[in-house]
């Protein structure tokens, strides 16, 4: 790279510098929307062919698309937005990326430096507005500092715990000429430690030898750490024989077909996973953060366990749950050391204890918590996902989702064999995430099958991106489980608010087939379970974007469920009475 940057360095305009810096960072795709304050950058983009620009239909779409690109490739996603409304429209996406630790670099235009603070047309205090929703942000006031700041931005977005960054670039800085020195000019100070403390790793290895009821509880940090982390995790699970569960964010790090796989844990996690978390004596948390969707009631969380926590972010340790063995470091680095330490001590485990633990887990598993009463009259959403899984699992497949019941069912009924194949808004729970994310994934993987499992309400929140999908001939499949309801809101109103369904259904949904056709795409509607397989095959066989309107049972609830304010062993199952399941204390929780 150094050779290239030497050639490309020198004097140039700020706008040219932006394009050159992106090139030097190896960026091949950016998502964005032009406007007054970024016109010089768009002029430079026009005059080159190394970087593809994807014109979204709303800036929120650009950020989610960049997130989809980042999560499916492991590389930072890049988006360009204009000043004022362009930047404020980016805020939801930035917050989403912050909560899910997704590396994205957003470049925003700003009014010229001499107009900042004058309430100029399309002026907003972008660094002020985005300060709490980025990992870091910069306002660049001199063209000479633009190049180094852009490279610093990529560095900060990707190092340590990844996250979104924003560089605000006033228009006069884009026009002015300055010197560009390439990638090496960034400040090198930001360098979070990646190596774990050897004594703590040794302590964990020792605890693993004597544990009778151990469990691995893994999260998105394993995926963020890179493919090596997933590989090491698999090695460690195979070598120890310990059972493993994962958060919504971590699905795919360990294969769903793996022998030790318990399924997802948490509020809508599997019975066996939550019961194992509750009953374990050694919890090894890897790259997860004890989110409230995971822990349920804190004071009843896994009462008798020793907890080890591996995380690159010191602020994740002891934030919600007391940790006995805290290890700060990168997952791949720490797992390598841990495997080494445990192997050096003779790769011992308590086989007898583990056998009993496995027998207990098998008992829980036998409860078959995902069983549901199927119907031959109406499509059950669970059945739709079972069929989607059966018909697509052997393909080169990427799944994105929106937020709600369909998201939880997708996590329960679809199996992920590899990391970076599952893109969902976990922390922020952003309805409208999945469709633009699928656009970003498809741009990165043009020949792969990309499916957005959606609910009709979420999907409508960013449906304008149909224009993007059609323009770039992106064959994204929009698999909409349409219950004409805000399903998860409806479920909570049923369980919690006396079945008063306040504002949780839509009376004027579009005809999704006609909607697809209006955009120049294909629409498919299916309402009979008997037609479902053929309809899914028709969707898969179509070379182009498809809106699949799957009319499902309108009142299905998502189970198992740990009601707010309850512990892991107080799960609601599908067939039991759920009236008054959530007490007044739980109702105030979200």
């Amino acid at each position: 790279m150094t050779g290239q940057t030497e050639q490309t360095g020198g004097q140039m305009t700020g706008a040219k510098m932006v394009v050159q810096a992106l090139r030097d960072q190896g960026v091949d795709t950016v998502f964005g929307y032009p406007g007054g304050a970024v016109l010089p950058i768009y002029d430079e983009l026009f005059q080159q062919n190394d970087i593809r620009h994807v014109l979204v239909r709303h800036e929120q779409g650009a950020i989610h698309a960049a997130e989809g690109y980042a999560r499916s490739t492991g590389k930072p996603g890049v988006a360009i937005v204009t000043s004022g409304p362009g930047a404020t429209n980016a805020v939801t996406g930035l917050t989403d990326a912050l909560l899910d630790s997704i590396p994205i670099v957003v470049l925003s235009g700003q009014v010229p430096t001499f107009m900042i603070g004058s309430d100029a047309f399309q002026e907003a205090d972008t660094v002020g507005i985005t300060r709490p929703c980025t990992k870091h942000n910069w306002l660049v006031k001199e063209t000479d500092r633009l190049g180094s700041t852009l490279h610093e931005a990529f560095h900060v977005a990707t190092q340590g715990r990844p996250g979104p960054v924003l560089v605000d670039i006033p228009k006069d800085v884009q026009f002015a000429t300055g010197s560009y020195g390439g990638k090496e000019t960034r400040s090198t100070r930001y360098a979070p430690p990646v190596k774990g403390d050897a004594a703590a790793i040794e302590a964990l290895a020792r605890a693993m030898e004597t544990a009778r009821r151990p469990i691995f509880y893994t999260g998105g940090g394993v995926i963020n750490s890179g493919p090596e982390a997933s590989k090491l995790l698999r090695d460690l699970v195979e070598a120890t024989g310990f059972p493993i569960t994962s958060t919504l964010m971590g699905l795919g790090a360990y294969p769903a077909s793996g022998e030790q796989w318990l399924g997802m844990l948490g509020m809508h996690g599997l019975y066996e996973a939550n019961m194992a978390m509750h009953g374990c004596d050694l919890m090894i948390c890897i790259g997860a953060r004890f989110d409230d969707r995971i822990t349920g009631r804190i004071d009843a969380f896994s009462p008798n366990s020793t907890r080890a926590h591996i995380d690159i972010d010191p602020s994740s340790l002891n934030k919600v749950i007391r940790t006995d063995i805290p290890i700060i470091g990168d997952v791949a680095e720490v797992l390598k050391e841990l495997l080494g330490a445990w192997s050096a001590r003779g790769r011992k485990t308590d086989r007898e204890g583990l056998a009993q633990w496995q027998a207990q887990i098998n008992e829980w598993r036998a409860k078959d918590c995902l069983a549901f009463r199927n119907s031959d009259k109406v499509i059950k959403p669970q059945y739709a996902l079972q069929r989607l899984e059966a018909l697509t699992k052997d393909r080169d497949r990427y799944i994105t989702t929106e937020v709600g019941q369909h998201q939880m069912w997708a996590a329960q009924y679809l199996g992920f064999e590899a990391p970076n194949r599952w893109m969902t808004s976990g922390g922020l729970g952003t309805m409208g995430y999945g469709f633009p994310a699928s656009v970003g994934v498809q741009m990165a993987h043009p020949d792969s099958l990309v499916i957005n499992v959606a609910g009709e309400a979420s999907w409508l929140m960013n449906m304008q991106e149909m224009g993007t999908a059609v323009q770039y001939r992106l064959p994204v499949k929009q698999f909409i489980l349409n219950n004409e309801r805000l399903g998860m809101v409806r479920q909570w109103q049923e369980l919690l608010h006396g079945e008063r369904y306040s504002q949780s259904w839509s009376e004027a949904l579009p005809d999704f087939v006609k909607l697809a056709e209006a955009f120049g795409a294909k629409g498919i509607i299916c309402k009979d379970p008997a037609d479902l397989d053929d309809a899914i095959m028709e969707m898969l066989d179509h070379d182009g974007p498809v809106i699949f309107d799957c009319l499902v049972e309108k009142h299905e609830n998502c189970f198992p469920m740990i009601p707010s304010g309850k512990a892991h062993n107080e799960m609601l199952m599908g067939e039991v009475s759920t009236a008054h399941a959530i007490e007044a204390g739980g109702a105030v929780l979200v």
């Binding site: 709490p132 990992k135 900060v156 972010d313």
Partner: protein, 188 residues
């Protein structure tokens, strides 16, 4: 590299309170930051956004060529909250070092304050007498008022304010706490 001292309670042989205690502690933190635009907003935004207390905050550049500033921050919370505050501060990109002066050893803490006291006759004489006892300086005077300058611990300034109030205290400005470790070594 980021330098966070572990455990508000785990490094002292004499303080055996659990890190998970519910008792609120007052801690003085020294935060060394890059002197760049917005860095103070990041620190303050962290405290307001996450609901932490700020009892006192002072900031000034300490190294002009190195573009470094020192923020002295007095905060309170349970040990777990204090640990979170330090970890969250350490996460801010332009923050170089976070030092918990309260657990790192003995410190000196000083604050400067200006008092405007207005009065006549006996009150005026008494104010001047007390100022002398507190080693406050008169930095402005008229026939009916004084401005006193006083330096000391926050407690000393509180005590002086309590005494001045009935004597005609009409305006008060305080700088907030500046703190350094005692002894010949620098930990920062």
């Amino acid at each position: 590299m980021l330098n966070i001292k572990a455990g508000s309670t785990s490094h002292s042989a004499y303080n055996l309170r659990s890190v998970y205690s519910d008792v609120e502690e007052r801690h003085t933190l020294a935060v060394i930051v890059e002197n760049e635009p917005g860095v103070l907003a990041r620190v303050i935004g962290l405290f307001s956004g996450r609901g932490y207390n700020i009892e006192s905050l002072t900031v000034a550049e300490i190294d002009h060529t190195g573009h470094m500033s020192r923020i002295t921050l007095v905060t309170s919370g349970t040990p777990q909250v204090i640990e979170q505050i330090k970890a969250q501060l350490g996460r801010i990109v332009p923050v170089h070092e976070v030092h918990d002066l309260t657990v790192e050893g003995a410190t000196v803490e000083r604050e400067l304050a200006l008092f405007k006291v207005r009065g006549e006759g006996e009150h005026r004489v008494e104010a001047l007498r007390l100022a002398d006892i507190f080693r406050a300086n008169v930095v402005d005077s008229t026939l009916e008022s004084f401005v006193f300058e006083i330096t000391g611990t926050p407690e000393k300034i509180d005590a002086f304010a309590d005494l001045m109030r009935p004597l005609g205290l009409i305006e008060l400005a305080r700088t907030g706490v500046a703190a350094l470790s005692r002894g010949p070594d620098s930990r920062v």
